[in-house]
C-alpha cells in the first residue's frame, strides 16, 4: 500500500462516492450547529420538505449572540434580532430532533469548546460546522472544517459534503518552547511565516516535539487558527494525551467499543515516507511571545519588536500595512511595548479553555489591573464551573476582571460585548480585522498570559518579565 498522510487516511475512510473527475461525497460524522449560520439552512429544508438524514449526529448550541452578563436569563439583555435567532435555533433543534444545549444549560458554551468537552469530537472523525473555527477539532486528529450555510443545509439533508481533496502541508515545530511561549504564539508565528493565504488549498498537519508537548487545550489553540493561515483544516495526530482527554466523556465510546476505537485511532498518523506538497519548519526555541500590530493575523511580531514601516513590505501589502497603521493609530518604529491598552478580553474558541484561564490567572494572582476594563469569558459553562472550583475566578475578580458567562462574546462582538470607536484591546481571540470587535475598535491578538500581563501594566508587555 502506498504511504499516506493522516489527512489521506481520514479522507479515504469517509469517501461515500467518487465521480470520475475526482469530486467526492465526503461522509460527515459530526455536524455542529449554532444560531447564526443555520436558520436559512433549516428554512431551506422546510421549504423543500426535506428531513434530516442523521439527527443523532447533529449537535446544536447557541453561542455567537448570547449575552455573557449574569442577568442573561432576562430576555431583555438580548437585542430583538439576536433573540429571534436564538429562538429559531431552539425551535429548529426541537422540530428536527437534534442534540441541543440551550442557553439555560450549564453545558452551553462556544460550539468548538462544547464539542470536545462532551466527547462528540473524536479522533478520525469528519466534523463540520457553519463556522470557520471548526478547524479547532483537528487537534484530535479529526478532519474538521468550516462550511457555508448552503453546505450546512446539504449536510443536514444528506450527511455528506461535495468535496475535492486538498493538498497536504506539514508544519513542523521542532524542539522545546522557551518559558512564556504558548500554543497561541506558535500558531500566530506560523501565520506570520506563511501569510494568511499560505495554507490556501491545503490541509495542514502540525507535528514535531513542540506540538507533541502541548496539552489537548494547546493543540486546539494551534488548530483553531489554521483557517487564519488560509488552510481548509489543521490536524494533529492523536496520541495517548488525546485518548486520555476523550476517555470517559459523555459521548465517547465505553468498554469494548472504546478498545476498538483506540485500536483504530492508533493507526491514525502520517506514514514516514508520505508525500507532502509543502513543508514549513520552525524551531520551537526561535518562537517568542508575539502580538499583532495590524489588521490581519499575519501582521505578527515578537513583543520585543517595533511597529514596522509599511515601505518595508512588497506589492499590495505596502498599502495594506499603511491602512492598518492608520486604522490602528500606530506609527512606524514605535516600540510594541509602548502601546497603551484600554481593554483586555480573555476568552473565545481560541483561548477560552481551562488551561488558558490558568495561564492568565498565574500572571494575575495578587495583582490589580491598570486597564479601563477587563473581562474573562469562559468558553463553556463547565470551564467556568471548573475555574470557580480551582479558585481562578476569585483571582480574576480580585484583579478587577469581570467574570462572565460562556459565549463567543467580544471575539466577534455580535452580542453587547463590543469595543467602542478607537478603544484598544489586547485580546486572546483570533481575528484583528477592521471592526471585528466593534466599529473602529483596535485589536491586538495575544496569548492569555500576554493578555494578563497587559492588563496589569496597561500597555503591551513581555510576559517573560513578569515570570
Amino acid at each position: 500500500m502506498s504511504p499516506k498522510t493522516l489527512y489521506d487516511k481520514i479522507w479515504d475512510a469517509h469517501v461515500a462516492h467518487e465521480s470520475e473527475d475526482g469530486t467526492c461525497l465526503l461522509y460527515i460524522d459530526r455536524h455542529l450547529v449554532h444560531e447564526v449560520t443555520s436558520p436559512q439552512a433549516f428554512e431551506g429544508l422546510r421549504m423543500a420538505g426535506r428531513k434530516l438524514r442523521a439527527p443523532e449526529k447533529t449537535i446544536a448550541v447557541p453561542d455567537h449572540n448570547v449575552p455573557t452578563t449574569l442577568d442573561r436569563a432576562n430576555a431583555k439583555t438580548m437585542t430583538e434580532e439576536s433573540r429571534i435567532q436564538v429562538e429559531a435555533l431552539d425551535t429548529n433543534a426541537k422540530d428536527f430532533g437534534i442534540h441541543y444545549y440551550p442557553v439555560s444549560d450549564v453545558r452551553q458554551g462556544i460550539v468548538h469548546i462544547v464539542g470536545p468537552e462532551q466527547g462528540w469530537t473524536l479522533p478520525g472523525m469528519t466534523v463540520v460546522c457553519g463556522d470557520s473555527h471548526t478547524a479547532t477539532h483537528g487537534a484530535f486528529g479529526a478532519l474538521a472544517h468550516g462550511i457555508g450555510t448552503s453546505e450546512v443545509e446539504h449536510v443536514l439533508a444528506t450527511q455528506t459534503l461535495i468535496q475535492k481533496k486538498s493538498r497536504n502541508m506539514k508544519v513542523e515545530i521542532t524542539g522545546k518552547l522557551r518559558p512564556g511561549v504558548t500554543a497561541k504564539d506558535i500558531t500566530l508565528s506560523v501565520i506570520g511565516a506563511t501569510g494568511t493565504a499560505g495554507g490556501t488549498g491545503y490541509v495542514i498537519e502540525y507535528c514535531g516535539e513542540a506540538i507533541r508537548d502541548l496539552s489537548m487545550e494547546g493543540r486546539m489553540t494551534v488548530c483553531n487558527m489554521a483557517i487564519e493561515g488560509g488552510a481548509r483544516a489543521g490536524l494533529i495526530a492523536p496520541d495517548e494525551k488525546t485518548f486520555a482527554y476523550c476517555m470517559g466523556r459523555p459521548h465517547a465510546p465505553k468498554g469494548a467499543a472504546w478498545e476498538a476505537a483506540v485500536a483504530w485511532w492508533k493507526t491514525l498518523y502520517s506514514d514516514d515516507d508520505a508525500h507532502w506538497d509543502k513543508v514549513i519548519t520552525l524551531k520551537g526555541e526561535d518562537i517568542a511571545p508575539v502580538v499583532t500590530w495590524g489588521t490581519s493575523p499575519e501582521d505578527v511580531l515578537p513583543i520585543t519588536a517595533n511597529v514596522p514601516d509599511p515601505a518595508s513590505f512588497k506589492g499590495g501589502k505596502v498599502d495594506a500595512a499603511q491602512r492598518s497603521l492608520d486604522y490602528m493609530g500606530l506609527t512606524a518604529g514605535q516600540k510594541l511595548t509602548d502601546i497603551e491598552i484600554d481593554t483586555v478580553f480573555i476568552g473565545s474558541c481560541t483561548n477560552g479553555r481551562i488551561e488558558d484561564l490558568r495561564a492568565a490567572a498565574a500572571i494575575l494572582k495578587g495583582k490589580k489591573i491598570k486597564v479601563k476594563r477587563a473581562m474573562v469569558v469562559p468558553g463553556s459553562g463547565l470551564v467556568r464551573a471548573q475555574a470557580e472550583e480551582e479558585g481562578l475566578a476569585d483571582i480574576f475578580k480580585e484583579a478587577g476582571f469581570e467574570w462572565r458567562l460562556a459565549g463567543c462574546s467580544m471575539c466577534l462582538a455580535m452580542n453587547p460585548d463590543q469595543l467602542s470607536e478607537g478603544e484598544r484591546c489586547a485580546s486572546t481571540s483570533n481575528r484583528n480585522f477592521e471592526g471585528r470587535q466593534g466599529y473602529k475598535g483596535r485589536t491586538h491578538l495575544v496569548s492569555p498570559a500576554m493578555a494578563a500581563a497587559a492588563a496589569i501594566t496597561g500597555h503591551l508587555t513581555d510576559v517573560r518579565e513578569m515570570m
Binding site: 473527475d21 455567537h64 470557520s132 448552503s150 446539504h154 488560509g230 498599502d319 480585522f433
Partner: protein
C-alpha cells in the same frame, strides 16, 4: 439557483489585499434569518459613515460603479469567517463575478452556491483588469463561463480555470442537494459499512 452563462458589465476596482468577510458584511447584519436584503449593507463600514451617510469616495458609491456586476480585487479576497452572508450580500447588490489572484477557500465555495463566479487570474491579468475597471462605466468587462474567458474593454482576453463540476452546476443553475440525493444508495452503503467498521461513531 440562477444560471450563470455570460455577463458583460461594469467592474468596480477594489485594489486592497486581504479583503475579509467582516469588511464584506459586518457582523451586525448576520442576525437575519433570511438570505435576502443584505446588498444595502455590503461593505457597510467602508461604504457608510456612522450616521449612515454614504462615503463619497468609496468605489460602489461613485456614480460609475453603482450598478457594478463585477469586482476586481486584491489577493486573498474573502478571508475570514464562513459566513455565507458575504456572497448573499454581494449577490443581493448585483455582483455576479469577483476577479482576484486568490480567494479564501470557504468564501470561494460559498460563491458557487449562490450563482457568483469567483475567477482566479495571475497578477499581470488582474493588473490589466484593475486598470480597465478604473476607467469607469464605459469600460465593460465580459465574463464567459462556457469559454472560461474574461475580456477587457479593449479586447484583451484571459483564460481562467474552473472545476468542471462547479462549472456544470453554475451553467445549469443546479441544486447540489438534489444532485447528491440521486446518490442516496452510495450513502446508504457507506453508512452500513461504517457502522460495521466504526460502530462507536
Amino acid at each position: 439557483m440562477e444560471k450563470f452563462t455570460k455577463i458583460s458589465g461594469v467592474a468596480a476596482p477594489l485594489p486592497l489585499v486581504n479583503i475579509d468577510t467582516d469588511m464584506i458584511i459586518p457582523k451586525q447584519f448576520l442576525k437575519t434569518i433570511k438570505r435576502s436584503g443584505l446588498g444595502v449593507n455590503l461593505f457597510d463600514e467602508m461604504r457608510y459613515d456612522r450616521q449612515g451617510n454614504e462615503i463619497a469616495d468609496f468605489v460602489l458609491n461613485k456614480p460609475a460603479y453603482r450598478q457594478a456586476q463585477i469586482l476586481v480585487a486584491g489577493d486573498n479576497f474573502g478571508c475570514g469567517s464562513s459566513r455565507e452572508h458575504a456572497p448573499w450580500a454581494l449577490a443581493d447588490f448585483g455582483i455576479k463575478s469577483v476577479i482576484s489572484t486568490s480567494f479564501a477557500d470557504i468564501f470561494y465555495n460559498n460563491c458557487f452556491k449562490n450563482g457568483i463566479l469567483p475567477i482566479v487570474l495571475p497578477q499581470e491579468a488582474v493588473d490589466v483588469l484593475m486598470k480597465d475597471a478604473e476607467k469607469g462605466s464605459n469600460a465593460r468587462i465580459e465574463v464567459d463561463l462556457e469559454a472560461q474567458t474574461v475580456t477587457s474593454s479593449d479586447g484583451q482576453s484571459f483564460k481562467f480555470d474552473v472545476d468542471a463540476f462547479k462549472k456544470h452546476c453554475l451553467l445549469n443553475g443546479l441544486d447540489d442537494i438534489g444532485l447528491t440525493m440521486e446518490k442516496a444508495k452510495s450513502i446508504d452503503n457507506f453508512e452500513a459499512k461504517a457502522a460495521m467498521e466504526r460502530p462507536w461513531v
